[in-house]
Amino acid sequence: MSKKVSVMGEYIKGLWRNNPIFKQVLGMCPTLAVTTSALNGIAMALATTFVLFFSSTIISFIRKLIPSQVRIASYIVIVATFVTIVDLVMKAQFPELSKALGPYIPLIVVNCIILGRAEAFASKNNVGRSMLDALGMGSGFLIALVMLGSIRELLGTGTILGFQVMPNFYEPWLIMILPAGAFLTLGSLMGFFSFLSMRRKRLLMNTEIKRDIEKKKPVIVNSAEV
């Protein structure tokens, strides 16, 4: 929690560098369960972002009033209230989506991203920063869910957001929209991203060493920020 992060940085860090799914491995249950299609992923991410945003705002607003012994219980009640709002609104306005997501909407209450951000960020920072942080984490969650949902929908049914993408002769891999496909897709994606970041770190280190050799300086390898 460095205080020197710029205001914009609070938002941006959630998108990729601290992406809740790929980097922090939080909130796995909804991620795996609802991403059978890109649309479900988007709906889930928007619902979660809504809850995250308002609960972070409120928690940060009253952070000095909550005694630290009962803080977790207080956070959970605040989160559960907003989840109830989302659930009722979705049931009224988007009954089909609400049915598709089923019990995973109420399960946002125990989504570790929300409690994690409340505990790690909103309880220690002012309202403005907490709002930005919540929006950033929500957007990161959205990116991850859309990515996962699109891949699974594309391979599993040959469509993206309901539009036929794959040619007619394409035989859908049914396994991708079944539970096993969720685990396999997320595992492969995470492995791929950590491969990319490892490669970038190695390239960065190589250029640094090369530069140091050219300057005939002793080699100092910075442990780059994680």
Partner: protein, 192 residues
């Protein structure tokens, strides 16, 4: 017979972890060692059984008769949190060996989505009191089974030469995927 079906469907066919994706966090976090995974499973089973009983009673005796079903989520999560706290205190006072075996896992269970998921599923499927309890026990045993198998595999995985980027969470997820595939074989066993 119906109770029997509910039990086996919760343990094998609709396994909480591998087909409902509930309780993934402990499934990935605490599955390093077989012994601790098993303890975690037992603690979860215990809390799930109690949760099934208590939330059913609250839901059907207090919330629904008074038309307060919209308070479900708040009520459930509060009940679960206090239940876990209470169980922890009770075990600490009565049985030290049991506390040493299960104690550290109990606080983690509050945020285990399998517990809240159980309460919600019981309400969603409109189970009777007895059915709810059987579903809770079955779900807990299914969770224990999945997390123990996973821990057994991961102990072996430590010896394997996994490509570097895949170490940790990615390979665990892929193993879980293969495990889910294997569990799909049970789906022909019972048609619910």
């Amino acid at each position: 017979m119906e109770l029997f079906l509910i039990f086996f469907s919760a343990v094998l066919v609709n396994n909480f972890v591998l087909s409902y994706f509930l309780g993934i966090c402990p499934f990935i976090g605490v599955s390093n060692k077989l012994s601790s995974a098993f303890s975690m499973g037992m603690a979860t089973t215990f809390v799930m059984t109690l949760t099934a009983i208590v939330t059913w009673l609250i839901n059907n005796l207090i919330l629904i008769p008074n038309n307060m079903a919209y308070l479900q989520y708040v009520a459930f999560i509060l009940v679960i949190a206090s239940l876990v706290q209470f169980v922890e205190m009770f075990i600490k006072k009565t049985s030290q060996p049991l506390y040493r075996a299960l104690g550290i896992f109990l606080p983690l269970i509050t945020t285990n989505c399998a517990i809240l998921g159980l309460a919600l599923f019981i309400d969603l499927k409109a189970y009777s009191f007895l059915q709810g309890i059987v579903f809770g026990v079955g779900g807990g045993i299914g969770f224990t089974l999945a997390i123990s198998i996973m821990a057994g595999i991961r102990e072996e995985l430590d010896l394997a030469d996994v490509p570097k980027p895949f170490r940790g969470a990615p390979i665990t997820l892929i193993v879980a995927g293969i495990l889910a595939l294997a569990f799909m074989g049970f789906s022909g066993l019972i048609s619910v």
